[in-house]
Structure formats: structure tokens, C-alpha cells
């Protein structure tokens, strides 16, 4: 039977297992997501963004996923950005400067309060710093003075941090107090007042030409498909980039360990004598070395780069317990007549090992190999949960680690833990389901059971 026909037969066999099909579907989705991610968000861009800071200025802190809120019928606010470019500006020139009045208006129709309010002001090309006064107008006509500010080139006014305003609002933080209904009895839960709000920016500019750009940001409580973390970063970035990283790590580690282990077992079986004895002793030594503590040690003492970790995993995996299993499988093959025939026509040692012995047990290995992948995916996540994740790469494990160090569960940010965990679980299930089905296809002894 040609090998093509044999593979086709295996494929027919495999198709009869629904779990194999589900597993393959999951793997296909994950591979598709990885390809999309790698193309849509190039590696350097992902690293640059994940470092945090500037690019995330307009994102809320710890916002949940939008769809999760809408699904349960909530109307929590998304982030509102009101730009002065779209606002009406009144200009009134005077001796040595101008007076600008900007009305940053917005319609607020959500059930919840925003999580924070910031005003970003940009004033470029001014010799003397302009001065601005802020007035907040609620839909019911109440007005709050938000004070005056001298504006720098890149100025940020954290309205939520204004302690004096908080006292004037009766002890409510500004992003709640400014949008709350006037409270009659004084100690009820504040309710949102919906309607049209306006922030009046009254600026005095000491320049003929240069203007002021303003951006009023009402940070939401929900954001995007995956929400944001404590550094305002979109979790979807890490969840998406975590996919190729996890798949690559799992695949490379599984390939690295199985192939090297197999080759070494075959070499030992073929050469026998002291080579075999050495390999056996090394395997026993390796069994005594605890894998995880050594990885933790390498991570703490040297570097937590994911590629170094991969290298250590492969090196520790070379002399793993699998050698004993492969050895048992290879021993009868060594005595097979076709090996003797190969020797008779003059095949060298290396040729016999690589071309005659190893290919014989490769099919048996395929299921083991597939079931090994999730083990390594979870290993990477485990290291990251211990705080030994790659310093720059966004991965699922690092999201979990951030969530844990920020007490996400205690604070009720369940999405932060659930979304990476679900992805990890999907990966694990996909490969494991396929692997179990493959096991039955390739090991005929199990098939009859």
C-alpha cells in the first residue's frame, strides 16, 4: 500500500470521530486568528503598543467588554470623546490677543456614570501661555465652575481628580457628581441625569494666529470586545497576539522535545553499549531534576525571554521519560529483517537510524505529539502567571498575571480573568480532542476497544 493511500485511509478513519472534527475546527479557528493577527498588527507595532502609555490615553481603565454588558441588557457608557474641531467656536479679538469660547456639547443617554473625565488641551505656537476657564452645564440648567487653568503646550486637566470640586458636589467624585440628578434627601444612590451636557471653555489667547485644541473625554465603563486593563490597554490586543505566541511556543516545544527524544532513543538502541547506558543514566538524572523549579530559576536568575524558556524546555525535555517508551518500541525494530537487509547492502549507521528506524515509529508519535502541544501552551501560561512571562510580548498568561496582581476577581473584573482562560481552555481542548481521536486511529490496539 502506498503511503498516500494509507494517509487517506487514516483521514477517512479520523472523520468518523466527531471530537476530532470539533478539535480540528477549533485549531483551524485559532490558526486563522493567529494569521490574521500577525498580518493585521505587525510584531513591532504590537510590542510598542503593549508597552502602554500614550497610545491608550483615550481608553478607560478596567472597562468590561461592551457586548457582555449589552447582552444582559445594561446600558453602561462607552467612552465619549468630544473634539473641539466639531464644536462651535466664538472668536472675539481684542488688543494683543483673542477671546475664544468653545462649547463642547454632548448627549448623554447611558444608565451608568463614566469612570473618569479628563480634558486634554493643546496650545501650540504661543509665546505666552493662554488662559482658560471651564464651566460645566447640566441639562437641567445647573452650572458648575471648574476653575481656571493656564494652558501648557500639552495640557491635561483631570476633572475627576479635582478635590475642591468634589467637596462642592457634596462629596461625590466629579465624574459622578457632575452627571447626577440633583439629590433632594442627600443620601440616596446618585442617579444619572440624561440629556444634553455642555462644557464651556472660555479662553484668552495672547496671539493673533495660534488657536487651542480641546478634547473632552468621558471614559466609559465598557470598551470593545475584550475590555481594557489597569493601564488602559485594550485586552483584545494581548488576547489576539497571545494566540500565535501560544501556538508557536506549543508547537516548537512539542516538535523540539519529541524529535530530539526520538532520535536520541534510536541512537541509544542502535549503538547499544556505553552510548545506551549513558543515555539511560542521563534520563534518570533528568527525572530527578524538577522541571518547573529549574525553569523558575532560569527565569529569575537569567532572563524571562520566551525563546530562552523554549530552549530550556526543549533541553530539559530531551532526556525525558519518553525515551524509555520509545526505547521499548524501537528494540524489536532493531532486530527486524529489513534492518539486517539494509546493513547487508551497506547502509551506514546514521542512515539506518534516521531512515529505517525512526520512520517506523513516527505514526505512533503523532497523537502523543498533538496532545503534548497544550501541555506546553499551559506551561508558558504557568510561567507567566508566576510573573516570569516574556518581558515585552503580550501573552494570555501575562494577562492572567496582571489580573491576579491587580486582584481582578476581588474587584469584580471577571472578564479580565475569563477571556484569557477561555482561550487557553479552547486551545487545550482543541488539541486534546484531536490528539485523543488520532490516538485511536494510529494505535490499532485501542481502536477495537
Amino acid at each position: 500500500m502506498s503511503s498516500g493511500a494509507r494517509w487517506r485511509e487514516h483521514w477517512e478513519e479520523l472523520r468518523r470521530y466527531p471530537s476530532a472534527l470539533v478539535g480540528m475546527a477549533i485549531i483551524a479557528v485559532l490558526v486563522g486568528l493567529s494569521l490574521y493577527t500577525v498580518i493585521a498588527i505587525p510584531y513591532p507595532e504590537a510590542l510598542e503598543k503593549w508597552r502602554g502609555g500614550e497610545p491608550w490615553q483615550l481608553h478607560p481603565v478596567n472597562a468590561g467588554p461592551l457586548w457582555a454588558d449589552r447582552l444582559v441588557g445594561g446600558r453602561q457608557p462607552s467612552t465619549l470623546v468630544i473634539d473641539s474641531d466639531a464644536a462651535e467656536v466664538e472668536e472675539a479679538p481684542f488688543e494683543g490677543g483673542r477671546r475664544l469660547r468653545m462649547a463642547l456639547a454632548f448627549d448623554y443617554q447611558y444608565d451608568g456614570f463614566p469612570s473618569e473625565i479628563n480634558l486634554f488641551l493643546r496650545a501650540e505656537g504661543h509665546d505666552q501661555r493662554p488662559f482658560a476657564r471651564l464651566l460645566w452645564q447640566a441639562p437641567d440648567g445647573r452650572e458648575f465652575m471648574l476653575g481656571g487653568h493656564r494652558i501648557g503646550r500639552d495640557h491635561r486637566i483631570s476633572i475627576s481628580q479635582d478635590r475642591a470640586l468634589e467637596r462642592r458636589l457634596g462629596g461625590l467624585v466629579p465624574h459622578i457628581g457632575l452627571l447626577a440628578q440633583p439629590d433632594s434627601d442627600g443620601d440616596a444612590q446618585p442617579q444619572v441625569q440624561t440629556g444634553r451636557y455642555m462644557l464651556m471653555l472660555d479662553a484668552v489667547v495672547f496671539d493673533e494666529q495660534a488657536g487651542i485644541d480641546a478634547e473632552l473625554v468621558l471614559y466609559g465603563r465598557v470598551h470593545g470586545i475584550a475590555g481594557t486593563d489597569h493601564q488602559r490597554r485594550e485586552l483584545s490586543l494581548a488576547l489576539m497576539w497571545g494566540t500565535p505566541v501560544a501556538l508557536a511556543f506549543g508547537l516548537l516545544a512539542a516538535v523540539g522535545t519529541t524529535i530530539t527524544t526520538l532520535v536520541i532513543a534510536a541512537v541509544g538502541v542502535w549503538y547499544r553499549g556505553w552510548v545506551d547506558a549513558t543515555i539511560q543514566r542521563l534520563t534518570e538524572v533528568n527525572m530527578i531534576l524538577p522541571m518547573l523549579p529549574i525553569l523558575v530559576m532560569v527565569g529569575t536568575l537569567y532572563s524571562t525571554s520566551i525563546w530562552l524558556m523554549l530552549g530550556v524546555v526543549v533541553v530539559l525535555g530531551i532526556f525525558s521519560a519518553g525515551i524509555k517508551m520509545y526505547r521499548a518500541m524501537l528494540l524489536p525494530i532493531r532486530e527486524a529483517p529489513y534492518i539486517e537487509a539494509a546493513q547487508a547492502y551497506g547502509a551506514g549507521n546514521l542512515r539506518i537510524v534516521m531512515r529505517y528506524m525512526i520512520p517506523r515509529i513516527l505514526p505512533v508519535l503523532i497523537p502523543t505529539f498533538v496532545t503534548l502541544i497544550p501541555t506546553f501552551v499551559f506551561l508558558e501560561a504557568s510561567l507567566a502567571v508566576l510573573g516570569l512571562g516574556d518581558p515585552v510580548l503580550p501573552t494570555w498568561g501575562k494577562v492572567l498575571n496582571d489580573a491576579q496582581s491587580q486582584s481582578a476577581l476581588y474587584n469584580g473584573y471577571y472578564y479580565w480573568v475569563v477571556s484569557p482562560a477561555v482561550l487557553l481552555m479552547l486551545t487545550g481542548l482543541g488539541f486534546a480532542m484531536l490528539g485523543f481521536a488520532l490516538d485511536r486511529v494510529f494505535n490499532p490496539r485501542l481502536r477495537s476497544l
Binding site: I288, P290, L301, L409, L449
Partner: protein
């Protein structure tokens, strides 16, 4: 008394067996000792970064000595050369005390022989809750927590899975059997992973169980209340470990039993009409005893080192989190102590297994000495 003329004289047989056994045991013991030796030495080298930790320590000693001399008003009126000499003298004393002046290779061998004698020495930074600096005390203090949690979890998983597998192998193909097989892939996730979900559900969404730790703070004075509190804290990690390994465990035992119950001699026994109990005990369990014991013992020590994350997630004060803290503090004596004990435990287990094999499997007993 029972000697019938038919049986061969038993004395010679036993003596021969004993001789082979001793020979075999001796060989295995030597090989294992060598294995532990190499493993521990490798750990020492890694934990010291091949000697680089020494350089860090030298810098630390120097800065500490100069800080101390500068801050002490008694040395204010010394000239700078005198002061530097004083610092040098203190540094060299400390270096001599820690024997940092000797090359790392020499000290690593010294470390090794002390580690092999289980003389674990004193920790550099850490101390036990009672304040002892001895590595032995630190480890012993954490040992009960680990043994309690992992011992009970492993025993539970082992017995439940073996008996469930026996039960399922009798009814293979049934709906129950198929559903357990379908659940087997869930074991791809490790225990800590289920732990996170369990904490989420049972400690926060429905707050019925504590999310971590071993007892409530402050610990209850009454012994029974203390035990009840520990039990409540144990429940979630226990379930996490159970969930993560039970299905795969049942699956593999079931396959194993199925393969063995399709052997010819089992079919033969069935054909003879023996009761299924008897077949199970005498024809399936007896020949598969050595793999069962192997996996039992290996499982008992297997999770020992893999428990770091579960202990971290559940804040369980066991050996895993101790090792993690030690690595964080670069406290090499504690790291090496932990690994040495692990290595010895493994070696002792492997040795016990070898002897047990020899007892259970006559082939090993007779050929063992010649292997």
C-alpha cells in the same frame, strides 16, 4: 511440615533468590546514588548561576561594609585611607567567613557533599515562621501543608480513577463510558487553571468558600474548629486538582484494563465460567499490579514539584511556594535543600519500585542480578 516430596527443596531457591535480590538491589542503589549526585550538582551549578551569584554577593558585601563604616560616628575622624583599609579588612573577613575567596568549583563540591549528607545548612535571607534560619526547619515547617493537600488529592484521584476505570471497563461502550471518554480532553488544563475558575465561582460570584490561605486569620483556638477551617480552605484546591486529573486518569486506566481484559487467559477464565469478581481480582488486577503500583508511587511524588503554581494561586503555604520565594530571594541553600529532598524522595521511590518489581515479578527476581 507442609513439605511434600513433589516440591523442590525450598531453601536453595530462597537463598538463590535472596542473593540475586541483594546483588540487584546493590546495583540499583549505586546507580541511583550516582543519579542523585549528578542531579544535585547540576542544581547547585544552576542555582549559583555557575558562580555568578558569588559576584553579586561580593558587591553586596562591599557596599554593606562601606555603608556601615561611613555611617558609624566612631570612624568619623579617620582619614580616608584608614577608612578604606578598614572597609577592605571587613570585606576580606566576610569573604573569608563565606569562603568566597575559594574558587566556585571547590565550594560547589563542598556544597555537594554537604547536600548529599542532608546537611542543608543555613538560609541566607529567609527564615521559618518561628524565626529559625536552618533550612531544615524552614522546609519541615512547610511540609505538613503540602503533604495534607497533595496527599489527599492524589489518593483521592488514584483510588477513584482505578475503581471507576474497573467499573467502566466492565461496561465499556455504555453512555457513561462514552461521556467519561469525551471528558478526557478537559485534563489538558492544569490544576491551577481550574483553580482560577473555582475561585471565581465559589469565592466571588457565590461567596461560600475562602479564596485562598490555609486557615482563617486569626487561627481558631479550638482544635476542631481549626480542623474545620483547614478543611474549608482545602476544598477548592482539592477540587481543582481532582478535576484536572480525574478524567484522563480514568481514561488511561480504563484503556489499560481493557487491553488486559482482552488477553487470552482472561477469555479462557471467562469461558470456564469463573465469576466476574474473581476474574477481576485474579486475572486482571494481579498481572497489572506492578504498573499500578508504579504509577501510584510516581504520582505520590510527581506533583511535589509541579505544585508551585497551584500553591501560588490558592496562597497555600506549602513547599511549592517556599521554593518560589526562595528563588525570588536567590536564597541558594533553600533552593538546593528543596531539590535535594525531592531528588532523594524520587530516588527512594524508584528504589522501592525496583525492589517491589523484583518481589512481584519473578522474571526480574531471577534475571535481575544479571541485568
Amino acid at each position: 511440615m507442609n513439605d511434600s516430596p513433589m516440591t523442590p527443596p525450598p531453601r536453595r531457591g530462597i537463598l538463590r533468590d535472596l542473593r540475586y535480590m541483594l546483588l540487584y538491589a546493590g546495583k540499583r542503589l549505586l546507580a541511583l546514588l550516582f543519579t542523585v549526585l549528578v542531579g544535585v550538582y547540576l542544581t547547585i551549578v544552576i542555582a549559583n548561576m555557575g558562580g555568578q551569584v558569588d559576584e553579586l554577593r561580593l558587591v553586596q558585601i562591599r557596599s554593606q561594609a562601606s555603608e556601615a563604616v561611613r555611617a558609624d560616628p566612631a570612624f568619623q575622624d579617620l582619614t580616608s585611607t584608614e577608612r578604606n583599609e578598614l572597609i577592605e579588612r571587613q570585606v576580606s573577613q566576610e569573604v573569608e567567613r563565606l569562603r568566597l575567596d575559594q574558587p566556585f568549583v571547590v565550594r560547589s563540591v563542598d556544597y555537594l557533599q554537604r547536600a548529599m549528607r542532608l546537611d542543608l545548612g543555613r538560609a541566607e535571607q529567609m527564615h521559618s515562621d518561628r524565626g529559625s534560619r536552618e533550612v531544615y526547619d524552614i522546609i519541615v515547617e512547610r511540609l505538613p501543608a503540602t503533604l495534607l493537600l497533595f496527599g489527599s488529592a492524589n489518593l483521592l484521584v488514584f483510588f477513584v480513577s482505578v475503581f471507576a476505570a474497573l467499573f467502566l471497563s466492565r461496561r465499556y461502550g455504555s453512555a457513561l463510558d462514552r461521556s467519561v471518554i469525551a471528558l478526557a480532553p478537559t485534563s489538558a488544563a492544569p490544576g491551577w487553571f481550574y483553580g482560577i475558575f473555582l475561585i471565581l465561582v465559589f469565592a466571588f460570584v457565590v461567596p461560600v468558600l475562602p479564596s485562598g490561605g490555609m486557615v482563617t486569620a486569626p487561627p481558631p483556638a479550638d482544635r476542631w474548629e481549626y480542623a474545620a477551617s483547614v478543611l474549608r480552605h482545602m476544598l477548592l484546591p482539592l477540587i481543582a486538582m481532582f478535576l484536572s486529573s480525574i478524567f484522563i486518569s480514568i481514561y488511561s486506566w480504563r484503556t489499560f484494563f481493557l487491553i488486559h481484559s482482552s488477553e487470552d487467559y482472561v477469555e479462557m477464565a471467562r469461558a470456564k465460567g469463573l465469576p466476574s469478581n474473581l476474574i477481576e481480582r485474579r486475572y486482571i488486577l494481579r498481572p497489572t499490579l506492578s504498573p499500578i503500583i508504579t504509577s501510584f508511587l510516581l504520582m505520590l511524588i510527581g506533583l511535589w514539584s509541579g505544585a508551585i503554581i497551584l500553591e501560588q494561586v490558592f496562597n497555600w503555604p506549602g513547599l511549592g511556594s517556599l521554593l518560589f520565594q526562595a528563588i525570588g530571594h536567590r536564597d541558594t541553600p533553600v533552593i538546593i535543600g528543596g531539590v535535594v529532598i525531592f531528588a532523594y524522595l524520587l530516588a527512594v521511590t524508584v528504589f522501592l519500585l525496583d525492589i517491589l518489581y523484583a518481589l512481584l515479578d519473578p522474571r526480574v527476581r531471577i534475571e535481575g542480578g544479571r541485568r
